[in-house]
């Protein structure tokens, strides 16, 4: 065991008795299994194929600063709100639930929406089997999250219930150099419908690290639009692990929008477990400076007649770097699978770099799988065309960059969110141009 691994194991042994929800057998078991696995595996290393492009050392170093119980910091959330977004809202400040900034008034009884900590402490009976289901511990970060996490959000939408408004979860980083480990759980009952917007922001430069897991289960015919929106300060780091299981004829729309952070690694895994399930996986990243954004996605076709569509688009400037690794796995018997994947990148600087890699594992014979990746530069003909119509070079560049991302932006169904992304991007593009 390396020194750092040992450090966490010791810390766990010292702290575990006081972790929220202690005594709940399912949770105790999960935490125990997670720390044991972590003790064995430790953090992933760059020698591992799945992690080779992403330097983890600085993140791991920073993760040591775990916040011990203290007051929830005060912050001004008004500037972090999205103009015009009417949503049920949970706010977490430095990883801890803050009722003060949250607003779930008007929420129907058939919907559970609360913090993980409050739920395990006060209403552990809320945790149905689906919500207790284990987070796949596919790497050390997920294991560490499960072992240590005390808070996060829990949402359950009962059968046939359709949410009238989106749910917005805001994780705000306030304190400096802090590591937080939100554990999020979503269960969509049969034929239920919801939109969840999970946002990570920071009040200022804090150098914070967030290591989150989100476990999402969709029962038959459920529909969930899930937005992971990363607009934290450019010195923050984040590792996310989103695991999704889909039932029969369910729809999962996943939108990973990464505009902030120094180092961001998103692990997304969607498992289409029963016939007729469909998922759309959309991604957008815009990086500058020395930002590093790594999207690892896996879609598992485990049943016949499922469809998946994936489109990730990125714009990279300056010395930034992006990694895209998209895996499509079609299991034996998953006939009539229809899967598509594309990753398109626009490089605005010759110092920016992209590594993109599709990976297809197909064990069924009657399937349709399409994939493609592109890396290109700004089209000079288009640029000249716009300029010849009187448009500034700087504006023309921003406009073309925008146009490139539009294919993804256009799919954001929540209009206020789309507008907020657009203005965030516009500001960024004009500033960098």
């Amino acid at each position: 065991m390396t020194e750092i691994t040992q450090h966490y194991v010791d810390q766990f042994n010292a702290a575990s008795a006081g972790l929220a929800g202690r005594g709940l057998p399912w949770l105790d078991d999960q935490r125990q299994a997670a720390i044991e696995l972590f003790a064995k595996s430790g953090f992933p290393g760059q020698y591992e194929e799945d992690w080779r492009y992403t330097p983890l050392k600085p993140v791991i170093g920073k993760m040591l600063h775990v916040k011990v119980d203290s007051e929830i910091a005060d912050t001004d959330i008004s500037k972090d709100l999205i103009t015009g977004l009417d949503a049920y809202r949970l706010v977490f400040v430095d990883g801890r639930f803050s009722p003060k900034y949250s607003d779930t008034s008007g929420l129907r009884d058939s919907i559970v929406m609360n913090s993980f900590e409050q739920s395990v402490v006060r209403n552990p009976e809320l945790f149905t089997e689906a919500m207790r289901s284990e987070v796949p511990l596919s790497h050390g970060f997920a294991a560490l999250n499960v072992a240590f996490s005390t808070d996060g959000y829990v949402i359950e939408v009962a059968e046939n219930v359709k949410l009238d408004k989106p749910v917005e979860i805001i994780f705000i980083g306030v304190d400096s150099n802090l590591a937080t480990q939100p554990r999020n759980i979503v269960h969509m009952g049969k034929s239920s419908q919801a939109i969840i917007i999970e946002r990570y922001v920071s009040s200022k430069q804090t150098g914070a690290v967030v290591n989150s897991t989100s476990r999402i289960t969709l029962d038959d015919s459920a529909k969930l639009g899930y937005y992971l929106v990363q607009t934290q300060a450019n010195d923050a780091s984040q590792i996310t692990s989103v695991d999704v299981r889909q039932g029969r004829s369910s729809w999962f729309g996943c939108y990973t929008l990464t505009l902030g952070g120094q180092l961001v690694r998103n692990n997304l895994r969607v498992s289409l477990q029963e016939e007729g399930a469909h998922c759309d996986m959309l991604g957008l990243y815009n990086t500058g400076g020395k930002q590093h954004v790594d999207n690892h996605t896996t879609v598992v076709h485990a049943a016949p007649h499922c469809t998946s569509r994936e489109l990730y688009k990125g714009v990279l400037d300056q010395r930034s770097r992006a990694v895209f690794h998209g895996r499509i796995k079609v299991e034996q018997g998953a006939q009539k699978t229809d899967a598509s994947q594309s990753n398109n990148n626009l490089l605005l600087s010759s110092n920016a770099e992209v590594d993109t890699k599709p990976q297809l594992e197909i064990y069924a014979d009657d399937v349709k799988c399409a994939h493609g990746a592109t890396i290109g530069q700004m089209d000079q003909n288009s640029l000249f065309y716009l300029r010849s119509r009187g448009i500034d070079e700087q504006d023309a560049r921003a406009l073309l960059t925008f146009a490139f991302l539009n294919e993804v932006l256009d799919e954001i169904e929540v209009e206020p969110l789309r507008h907020s992304m657009e203005s965030f991007l516009a500001e960024r593009l004009l500033e960098n141009a």
Binding site: L386, S388, R389, A396
Partner: protein, 250 residues
């Protein structure tokens, strides 16, 4: 309006324009004809400010200004317009957006108040009707999926909207059916005035039946080798370029 003197331009070190001289007076319409690859589009693009071409010698004066010293966007704002031989498709940017950005940048440059959404809409509808362009085209991405003729019509729409002092139309008539040709010609003729000048690059005498030029020039081998009145176009149509080239060589 425009005074081109001994203009030489290279692309990738290869000389394309080899001493072009051309004077376009205010209110005049000039047609430039010439064989494929003779440098007509090169000339048009150099005028519009494309930087792939390197001007190695010569000068261009436009309305008293040193044109070659200006950025493409400034040229446009100063009233120079190029209708492209091959208009570019720009997915993700709507025609509407482009048109509005274009007109407002020109207005701003000239110190006129920018148009608000309503004023712009009114104006654009009027102009679109003039070139018989269906409204839906305004909301589509710039030229994306437009047919060849629709793209050309879109160029004329932009021209009509921007009301340039000098329009350079690079083969706007190529690929147009008879009806579209008439519409384009009408658009041009409506704009034609004592204050405006036009340079029409074309291969076909046909266009010149609708837009009667004051002068016709033959550009071959990177130089204007012959100039004349509108009857020169008819002669070229009959005899081809061979005889002018032979005469020029002689």
């Amino acid at each position: 309006m425009l005074s081109i003197k001994n203009l030489h331009a290279d692309i990738d070190g290869k000389p394309i324009l080899k001493g072009v001289n051309l004077e376009v007076g205010t209110g005049e319409v000039h047609a430039i004809m010439g064989p494929n690859g003779s440098g007509k589009s090169t000339l048009a693009n150099v005028l519009a400010g494309r930087d792939d071409y390197e001007v190695t010698r010569g000068s261009v004066e436009y309305r008293g200004m040193d044109l070659l010293d200006m950025k493409p966007e400034i040229r446009a704002r100063e009233g120079l317009f190029l209708a492209f031989q091959y208009p570019v498709e720009i997915p993700g940017v709507t025609n509407m957006y482009l048109l509005k950005a274009a007109i407002n940048s020109v207005r701003k440059h000239r110190g006129i108040e920018e148009l608000d959404a309503r004023e712009f809409l009114k104006l654009i509808k009027e102009k679109a009707a003039m070139v018989e362009m269906k409204q839906e085209f305004l909301y589509r991405s710039v030229n994306q999926g437009f047919s060849g003729g629709e793209k050309k019509r879109n160029e004329i729409l932009q021209m009509a909207l921007l009301e340039p002092h000098l329009s350079v139309l690079d083969e706007t008539d190529s690929g147009l059916d008879i009806d579209a040709l008439k519409i384009v010609a009408e658009g041009v003729n409506l704009l034609r005035s004592e204050q405006r000048s036009m340079v029409l690059v074309t291969h076909y005498q046909r266009l010149l039946d609708y837009i009667v030029p004051d002068y016709v020039h033959v550009l071959a081998g990177g130089r204007i080798i012959r100039s004349g009145g509108k009857e020169l176009a008819l002669e070229l149509e009959k005899k081809g370029y061979g005889w002018v080239e032979d005469q020029a060589a002689a």
